[in-house]
């Protein structure tokens, strides 16, 4: 297990490095100029040149990358061009916000998604299954823009029951925060619902068709016990992986939702960094997302391994 984790971490590091290179080269073709972006289009060229010297953006790109990597290796995420401030606290705060939103979405969707999947699987081919599955499939592909707009119209404006912006008033308690996050979380939850529901359904259908399910049924186990004890444990394993890999999507989806609901999260941060050529911020944001994705998938794999005796005990026997 330790070896497995180490190997994965090593591969993950390589991937992150590749990612930083990809972003770096993409960053080179990003239009605009950091100093110009900070000072605005109307600033005098001398001012822009002076700022570029300060920022180091007048140096060859390879040097910039080298400096950045050097800082990174010492645990320094660098300084944002745009904010002229250390990136770590900015990123940390944004990540915190995003995680809070993601968490609300997860808490909403995971139980419902799994329940929906299992119910559909137990009624495979019946109307209940079709309704849940069509809903799940559809929910997965409707862009957050679309679901978000409809939610804003219906719940925010017509019924006026939910706040239509994610940013809560200053000093708001946790309850208020969550209240504000409900509507932004729904578009995310809708998309995740489809993924989780489909996966839980597929896993459960497969488990139900398995020989061991037959064995359990033919033992004379009551159906409920059979499902709880024999089906769910096996059928929900793949769902865990899906949930974890969706972390990646979640953060991507956040860009949209954060824009639509005006929320200061990592999505907005990256979006702004990309559009204002804030290279250190963009790199840091992308790496954080990449690392989060990798940690999440690794965690999912480990959890999967832990819950799956076949993998857990591999090499022991």
């Amino acid at each position: 297990m330790a070896g497995f984790v180490l190997k994965r971490l090593g591969l993950g590091l390589i991937t992150l490095w590749l990612l930083s290179l990809l972003v770096f080269f993409a960053g080179q073709v990003l239009p605009g100029d950091p100093a110009r972006a900070i000072l605005g289009p109307l600033a005098a060229p001398s001012a822009v040149a002076a700022l570029a010297r300060q920022l180091g953006t007048n140096q060859p790109v390879i040097d910039q990358y080298g400096t950045w990597v050097g800082h990174l290796l010492t645990g320094n995420l660098g300084t944002s061009y745009q904010y002229q401030a250390p990136i770590a606290p900015l990123l940390g705060k944004a990540l915190g916000n995003s995680l809070e939103l993601a968490l609300v979405a997860f808490v909403m969707v995971v139980p419902i998604g799994i329940l929906g999947g299992v119910i559909a699987a137990l009624n495979v081919g019946r109307r209940v299954d079709r309704v849940i599955s069509v809903f799940g499939l559809s929910a997965t592909v409707i862009p957050e823009v679309v679901s978000g707009i409809v939610l804003i119209l219906v719940f925010g404006l017509w019924l006026n029951v939910l706040p239509i912006q994610a940013a809560w008033p200053p000093g708001a308690g946790l309850g208020t925060q969550i209240y504000h996050l409900i509507m932004p979380a729904i578009p995310l939850a809708l998309i995740l619902f489809g993924y989780i529901q489909q996966m839980a359904r597929a896993g459960t259908v497969e488990a139900l068709a398995s020989d061991y399910a037959r064995t359990a049924t033919l033992k004379g186990l009551p159906r409920g016990v059979m499902i709880r004890r024999h089906i769910l444990r096996n059928s929900l394993l793949p769902t865990i992986t899906v949930i974890a890999t969706q972390t990646g999507y979640l953060i991507g989806g956040l860009v949209l939702v954060e824009t639509l609901f005006h929320y200061q999260g990592i999505g907005t941060l990256i979006y702004n960094a990309a559009t204002s050529k804030d290279f250190p911020m963009l790199e840091a944001g992308v790496l954080v997302i990449g690392a989060a994705y990798m940690v999440a998938t690794l965690a999912a794999d480990m959890l999967y391994t832990l819950l799956n005796p076949r993998l857990r005990l591999r090499g022991v026997e």
Partner: protein, 695 residues
């Protein structure tokens, strides 16, 4: 479930007098593409209390469907559309949910083909077994104790250890014991076994079959035993029913049905099994045609299309079950002409010229010191260890061994699909062969071809038959244009593949036809040697016979050498000039077929031969092997077979790996026991080797 003592249902009191299982007029249909398809038609039989009833038939005949219908576990689109099924006198089909559950918990159990899949992979074995007792109302600790007991009763030597494990940590044989223990735990009156040993190796299979026989005596349970293997049924069952295309075509006491069959299908089936007394390479008999699709036979006898005796009446009138009064007990045959069944005309290809070309002077292919080590999850697994092998032109070498013995690895190394470890030397006609096929010359590629085990895998399912064969003809035979077409016709004809199949895709062909395509492809470049990797193991016996005949025929015409891999000694005996026995990647015995089979032979060969159930003599004593096949990742020190060897002579077997020893000219054995001792032991102990061979 509720543990309150409820008075037994009326059916249960009555049950003591009734049969364990009765099927009367059962039809089973599946709804496929919005249409009902009748898979099982009008099947009636009964399993008396304490009786063992065998259901035998080829794939697709409806055996398993019947078993699942008995426990009411048909797929959602399947249903019993007519008839009645009773267990212990209770109508299974009309039970409500609770009663059905109670029936499953107490009265009927089932064991099926893949023990690995029958157990929940994420629950400890002990818990799964104990669950049966918990359902019956036992508290958890008591249930665990009783689970331990029942595991001991299926002769698991370390029940505690097994209970603490997960299914994947146990071997197939052990798992099947656990499953059987679980099935017997509730002491059911009926135990259904659906191909319980098909997935197991021969030596393990024999062990499990013995166990079932023993337990049956011990528990007095009635058995419904389902298998495609006639010999297994013969060994295990008192009575037998032969299923064909969803109909029970013949039924009666096992000895009577197999000894004196009264339905042409049974007759044909029995004839197509390679037998010891069939004479060396006498052509096998086959059943022409193939299974009709479900529901395609509207009227008349389902077998009429393939029956050599069929007359007008057979096609027009569905035969009823004819009772046969021959003093052999209650039996019947669904044939208008059951009296004449055994006069079924012999259907076979023309007997080939028995003159064999065994020019052994110059080996065609020679492999020396072939080892192959795999890396599997950090472990080194010895797939092959220092294997030497020679094959002469035109000769057939049979390669036998159980799973993990390295048969297929050896074939792949010879073909150049897997590179052997450095140090191996493979030559063709004295020229060294490159380790991988890609690096071999066109001539070498042409000379060496293979027929794979599974034609579904071996034939590109997106290419038409014509394209499959043409490509090989172009690539290996160098044919173009007109010449290619001409050669294609000739080749198709020589593998007896009618031209109308050429435009089809493999999925539209039956298993036998697909294998013919694969064979045609292998012969496209006029090979010198063809490796046949279990080419018939995926086929039913009647089809197998035709393929074996074809291979023999081709060999005579093309003067090709075969390396014939099989786990089925009967098939190898039928075909092989020489036999090589592999165990854990090592050659244990090599020699002329007759000599290897007759002995004296290696104790492992002896056990293999003894393990195979046969129709000929079902009550001989068997050499029983201890334990499981060791893992190739961790082979035993000394003689690799010593852990299971019934003839182990002492320390030397555990510590020193024996050398190959010449027993007779061309016949070598890897064993410490002197040849004379072997001869003495093998003629004294157990059944005579000669009597145990073959099917």
């Amino acid at each position: 479930m509720s543990t309150t003592a409820s008075p037994p249902a009326p059916g249960e009191t009555q049950a003591t007098a009734a049969d364990a299982l009765t099927l009367s007029g059962v039809d089973i249909s599946y709804r496929v593409r919005r249409a009902d398809q009748r898979i099982v038609r009008d099947v009636s039989f009964r399993v008396a209390r304490g009786e063992s009833f065998g259901l035998v038939g080829e794939s697709g005949c409806g055996k398993s469907t019947i078993a699942l219908a008995v426990v009411r576990y048909l797929a959602r689109n399947g249903r019993v559309s007519a008839g009645r099924i009773e267990i212990d006198g209770r109508d299974v089909l009309s039970l409500d949910r609770a009663d059905l559950r109670r029936l499953r918990a107490r009265t009927v159990s089932m064991v099926y083909q893949e023990p690995g899949r029958a157990l929940n992979p994420s629950i400890l074995v002990g818990r799964q077994v104990a669950e049966v007792y918990e359902i019956a109302g036992a508290p958890r600790s008591e249930a665990l104790d009783r689970a331990r007991e029942i595991l001991a009763r299926v002769r698991i030597s370390d029940p505690d250890g097994v209970m603490r494990r997960y299914p994947h940590q146990l071997s197939g044989g052990m798992l099947q014991r656990v499953v059987i223990a679980m099935a017997l735990a509730a002491e059911p009156s009926l135990l259904i076994l659906d191909e319980p040993t098909t997935a197991l190796d021969a030596t393990v299979e024999a062990d499990v079959l013995d166990l079932i026989l023993g337990l049956r005596a011990e528990f007095g349970t009635s058995l419904l035993f389902i298998s495609h293997n006639l010999a297994v049924i013969a060994k295990m069952c008192d009575r037998v029913g032969v299923l064909y295309a969803g109909e029970l075509v013949e039924e009666g006491p096992a000895s009577a049905v197999f000894g004196d069959p009264r339905h042409p299908y049974t007759v044909g089936l029995l004839r197509s099994i390679p037998r010891r007394d069939g004479g060396a390479r006498a052509p096998l008999q086959t059943i022409p045609g193939s299974l009709p699709t479900p529901g395609s036979v509207a009227a008349g006898c389902v077998f009429a299309a393939r029956c050599g005796l069929a007359q007008e009446r057979c096609r027009a009138e569905t035969p009823a079950v004819h009772r046969i009064e021959d003093g052999c007990g209650e039996r019947g045959s669904r044939c208008h002409f059951s009296e004449q069944a055994q006069s079924l005309p012999i259907h076979s290809i023309v007997a080939p010229d028995s003159a064999r070309i065994a020019d052994r002077a110059e080996p065609l292919i020679r492999a020396r010191s072939v080892s192959k080590t795999f890396q599997a999850s950090g472990q080194r697994v010895r797939g092959l260890h220092q294997v030497d092998l020679e094959i002469a032109a035109g000769e057939t070498v049979g390669l036998v061994g159980e799973s993990g013995s390295g048969k297929t690895t050896l074939a792949r190394v010879l073909m150049g699909l897997t590179a052997p470890d450095p140090g191996a030397e493979v030559t063709l006609d004295g020229r060294p062969l490159a380790p991988l096929a890609g690096a071999r010359t066109a001539a070498d590629q042409k000379a060496l071809q293979i027929v794979f085990q599974n034609p579904d895998s071996a034939l590109n399912r997106r290419h038409s038959v014509r394209r499959l064969i043409s490509r090989s003809l172009a690539k290996l035979g160098g044919y173009r244009g007109e010449a290619l077409q001409a050669r294609l016709q000739a080749l198709a004809e020589s593998v007896r593949l009618p031209e109308r199949y050429l435009p089809m895709r493999p999925s539209q062909l039956s298993g036998g036809l697909k294998q013919r395509v694969a064979i045609a492809r292998a012969f496209a470049g006029d090979p010198q040697i063809v490796v046949c990797d279990e080419p018939t193991s995926a086929l039913d016996v009647s089809v197998q016979a035709a393929i074996l005949n074809l291979l023999t025929d081709l060999q005579h015409r093309e003067r090709v050498a075969y390396l014939f891999i099989s786990h089925d000694l009967g098939v190898v005996r039928y075909l092989a000039d020489r036999i090589v026995v592999l165990y854990l990647g090592r050659v244990m015995e090599i020699g002329p077929a007759q000599s290897v089979l007759d002995g004296p032979h290696h104790p492992y060969t002896e056990a293999l031969l003894s393990a195979v159930p046969t129709l000929d003599d079902s009550d001989r004593e068997r050499i029983r092997l201890e334990g499981e096949i060791p893992s190739a990742a961790d082979p035993p020190a000394g003689c690799p077979f010593h852990t299971r060897c019934p003839r182990r002579i002492g320390e030397i077997c555990d510590t020193t790996e024996p050398e190959m020893r010449v027993q007779a000219p061309g016949h070598e054995i890897r064993c410490h026991i002197p040849v004379d001792d072997l001869r003495r032991l093998q003629s004294a102990g157990g059944g005579a080797p000669s009597a145990s061979a073959g099917r």
